[in-house]
């Protein structure tokens, strides 16, 4: 097990490095100069040169990259072009909301997805299966932000069950925090749940059609035991294998859904920075997201190793 963790950590390093190189080079892809873009119509060659010098854009790329990586490792992600606030501080302020709704969304997705997948997978072809599986097709087609909009209109605006401006930090008021992230989590959970349900259903159907199911059935093991113990565990193997991708998708979706619920997450600063071409912030958000996804994948891979003995290095 220790070996598996070591291997995965080792792979995470080049992965992060490649992403860092790509993210760093982004500023060089901008047509013209970011300084010109920042200054807008008021730009003169002199003011552009001045701002470029301020931003360090006049120095050679390798030197700037070394400096940037060094900064990353010490937690210095530069300062926002627009507001002058350190990026690290901005991120620290906005990560909690994103983490909360993504974790909540993933939880809802797993409960809904595995539940629906096992339920339909054990009765393929029945009317119940058709209805629920049809529901997952619909769940994948619904734009998440629209679903969020409908939920907030109904439950926050019309019924008033949850606050309209939802976000309360966990440390301030745990109950308020939970009420605040309930609707966003359900919104994310429907999409994620639909994805997971389809994978789980296919895996459960395959597992229950596998020869070992017949072997155990013929040997007298009751069907309930086979489904609960063998069907589910075998089905979790492919589901866990793709849970990392599901999570990455949910993070992306959360950036959009945030706007519906006025959540102060990474999406809100990403959005304003994309429009303002505030690259230090864009780079910071991309890096922190990559680290988040890679870290969660690490945990998922370890879970995968716990479930699937063949995934453990010998």
């Amino acid at each position: 097990m220790g070996k598996l963790i070591a291997y995965r950590l080792l792979f995470a390093v080049p992965q992060l490095l490649v992403i860092a190189v790509v993210v760093f080079s982004l500023t060089y892809l901008v047509p013209g100069s970011p300084a010109a873009a920042m200054l807008g119509a008021a730009a003169t060659p002199e003011s552009i040169a001045q701002v470029e010098a301020q931003m360090g854009l006049d120095r050679p790329a390798p030197e700037r990259f070394a400096e940037w990586i060094g900064g990353l490792l010490t937690g210095d992600l530069g300062t926002s072009f627009r507001s002058g606030v350190p990026v690290a501080e901005l991120l620290a302020r906005h990560v909690p909301a994103t983490l909360s709704v993504v974790a909540g969304g993933m939880l809802v997705a797993l409960v809904l997805g595995v539940g629906a997948g096992v339920w339909t997978g054990t009765r393929p072809g029945t009317p119940g299966d058709r209805v629920v599986t049809g529901g997952t097709v619909l769940g994948l087609a619904v734009p998440e932000f629209w679903l969020g909009l409908l939920l907030t209109t109904l439950f926050a605006v019309q019924l008033g069950w949850v606050p309209i401006v939802a976000w309360t930090p966990l440390t301030d008021d745990p109950l308020g925090w939970a009420r605040g992230i309930a609707l966003p989590s359900i919104t994310l959970g429907v999409t994620g749940g639909a994805m997971i349900a389809r994978q789980t259903r296919a895996a459960v159907v395959a597992s229950l059609a596998a020869p070992y199911t017949d072997t155990l059935t013929a040997a007298g093991v009751p069907r309930a035991t086979i489904v609960a113990r063998y069907g589910v565990k075998n089905a979790l193997v492919p589901v866990l294998a793709s849970a990392g991708v599901t999570l990455a998708i949910l993070i992306g979706v959360s950036f959009v859904v945030e706007k519906v619920f006025s959540l102060p997450g990474l999406g809100s600063i990403m959005l304003s920075s994309v429009i303002a071409q505030d690259f230090p912030v864009v780079q910071g958000v991309v890096m922190v997201t990559a680290v988040l996804v890679i870290a969660v994948n690490l945990v998922l891979d370890i879970c995968y190793g716990l479930i699937n003995p063949q995934a453990r290095p010998q």
Partner: protein, 600 residues
């Protein structure tokens, strides 16, 4: 396609996609107002006769915006899917075809890209290049190009190793020619399916970006932008959110169902082939039973001419009482169109205590279906249409699933062909054995169940059982895994053990060892054994009697020596003639000589 359209979902997909395309093309003709027209007298009017969906805060007609937005959605979706394919397909072709380092580095690159949400790529592209139609198309295209690269790579990898690419390479075609003329046509189907699905996904991404205000300007209506506007009016005009959302939903759903429909249509040829196969099966049955009548007495008149006499069920002595008797079993598969395919017809066989019956036949002869029918494990859509199956004199065919479950395990055990697949790959061998032990004795303690599991492993000849209990199936060799599967089957001390090609996947030496084990267990436990095999050598070595199946019908049953030395049916004779070494005088000498011939 026409048959596919009979499916309501396919019809829905085609109708909706057609409507959206027509609306998008004819938007200026259909829409009551120009998209930029403002009715300043009626801002935020809500639904009225003049403005069925209401107006925005400047009096713009929302219905007209909705109609023009279909144009935006389709244009961006088609453009971005084209961009995604132009980038992804060549990339996937190169990775899959060149293999080696290209593939290793490229695939790692794709894995790394997985660490970022697709939308993030869209954000970054827009941050760099600013907003606009071309940028939006490029941004969404880049989101999906990885998927096309992955799909293309996977298919190219499999196609690359097929005979036709190999022969094209040998005949001197260069790589681009092979890729474009040989590999790409095989990719076309999956790519079209994928493209249809991603058209829907691209519409969703476009809507999300427009919703965030990162899409096109306000002068270009979009469904996402309309929803963005609706968020400001959840309190006073909640109905504003309905129409654009439904438009997105229905369109995305239609494209994804269109993908399914194309997929079904493309694989339709495969289904037709199965249907033809079914018909051949039926016709073959008819034709053959005609000729069989000439050569043999009809099956119902008693094909069982074995040493104990026809399968009348008469009891000569208690030792000879049949453990299993199958009489006139008909097994059919239900076709979706309501017809049935006959898989097994009028099959009868009996096995007595301590006897090994060989069930012989080529693949597709129905022998495994017969075994599954005996076990009550017929797959969905396949059923026993007639006949009787009795175990120790108890009728099995009219049992409820619960009663059947109670009989399984104590009455019967089974071992299938693939040694690794017989056991769950993610549970230890000990876990599986103890679960079976506890299924038979709910009150047994954990320790006692484990020690019984160890005893069973010992019984089937697995060394060091205590240590082996904690191992996973992949840590067992094929022969050892098959021994474990036999141990699982033996937990309930069954009267009948069914081996369904249980030794076919093993090498000759291991096969002989496992067969010796079966003979030994039969002697020690006095079980009846049905050994299903296509290997006459195996049958000759282990079986007392054999039943030969041809296209679902029993053509011959009898003592193994009698059948092999004096086959009464022409098919059996041909089967034996095809296995040199088995038609010699001593059937027992068969296997190994014959194997040498086969391997030579």
């Amino acid at each position: 396609m026409r048959t596919a359209l009979r499916q309501p979902t396919a019809l829905f997909a085609v109708v909706v996609v057609t409507v959206v395309v027509v609306v998008a093309i004819a938007a200026p003709l259909i829409a009551p107002y120009a998209p930029e027209a403002k009715d300043f007298t009626a801002p935020l009017s809500g639904p009225t006769a003049a403005h069925p969906l209401g107006t925005d805060d400047l009096g713009g007609d929302l219905l007209s915006q909705l109609i023009h937005a279909a144009r935006t959605a389709l244009l961006v979706a088609v453009g971005s899917v084209v961009v995604a394919m132009l980038i992804g397909v060549p990339l996937g072709l190169v990775l899959g075809y060149r293999g080696g380092w290209y593939d290793r580095i490229g695939s790692r690159g794709l894995d790394i890209a997985d660490a970022l949400p697709g939308l993030m790529i869209g954000f970054v592209v827009i941050a760099i290049l600013g907003q606009g139609m071309a940028v939006l198309i490029l941004a969404i295209g880049l989101v999906f190009c990885m998927n096309f690269a992955r799909l293309t790579r996977a298919i190219t990898l499999t196609e690359r190793n097929k005979g036709y690419v190999e022969s094209a390479r040998v005949s001197g075609l260069n790589a681009p020619r092979i890729l474009f003329s040989q590999v790409l046509p095989n990719l076309a189907g999956p790519l079209v399916v994928q493209a249809a699905v991603f058209l829907g996904s691209a519409i969703k991404v476009e809507a999300a970006l427009s919703f965030l205000g990162l899409g096109l300007g306000d002068e270009q209506p979009s469904w996402g932008g309309m929803l963005g506007f609706a968020t400001q009016h959840t309190a006073d005009h909640p109905e504003m959110a309905l129409a654009p959302g439904i438009a997105i939903c229905v369109t995305v759903l239609a494209f994804s169902l269109l993908g399914d429909t194309i997929n079904d249509t493309l694989s339709g040829s495969r289904m037709r082939r199965t249907k033809i196969l079914g018909r051949v099966l039926l016709d073959g049955d008819g034709a053959r039973s005609g000729s069989a009548d000439a050569a043999l007495p009809p099956a119902s008149a008693g094909t069982d001419d074995g040493p104990v006499g026809p399968d009348t069920g008469s009891v000569e002595d208690s030792a000879g009482e049949p453990v299993l008797a199958v009489r006139h079993a008909d097994i059919v598969a239900d076709r979706p169109d309501g017809g049935v395919v006959r898989l097994v017809h009028d099959a009868s066989l009996t096995v007595r205590r301590g006897e090994i019956l060989g069930l012989l036949g080529e693949s597709g002869s129905g022998k495994s279906m017969l075994a599954k029918a005996i076990l009550g494990l017929l797959p969905a859509g396949v059923r026993l249409a007639g006949g009787a199956i009795t175990l120790n004199g108890t009728e099995l065919t009219d049992r409820s699933p619960a009663q059947l479950a109670a009989l399984r395990g104590t009455g019967m055990g089974v071992v299938f062909q693939n040694p690794q697949a017989n056991l769950s790959p993610v549970h230890t061998v000990g876990r599986q054995l103890t679960d079976v032990v506890r299924a038979h004795d709910a009150t047994i303690s954990k320790e006692a169940a484990r020690s019984r599991a160890a005893d069973l492993l010992d019984l089937v000849g697995v060394d060091d059982p205590e240590r082996r209990l904690d191992q996973y199936p992949y840590q067992f060799s094929g022969g050892m895994a098959q021994r474990v599967a036999i141990a699982v089957a033996l937990v309930g001390e069954p009267d009948l053990l069914i081996l369904d090609e249980a030794t076919s996947a093993l090498d000759v030496t291991t096969q002989a060892q496992v067969l010796d084990l079966v003979l030994d267990l039969r002697d020690r436990l006095g079980m009846a054994v049905v050994n299903i095999t296509h290997d006459l050598g195996v049958a000759a070595e282990t079986c007392d009697r054999v039943t030969v199946l041809l296209r679902g019908e029993v053509v011959e049953t009898g003592d193994v020596h009698t059948v092999f030395d004096h086959p009464r049916h022409e098919y059996t004779a041909r089967l034996i003639a095809a296995h040199p070494g088995v038609d010699d005088d001593a059937p027992g000498l068969g296997t190994h000589d014959q194997r040498k011939v086969e391997h030579a």
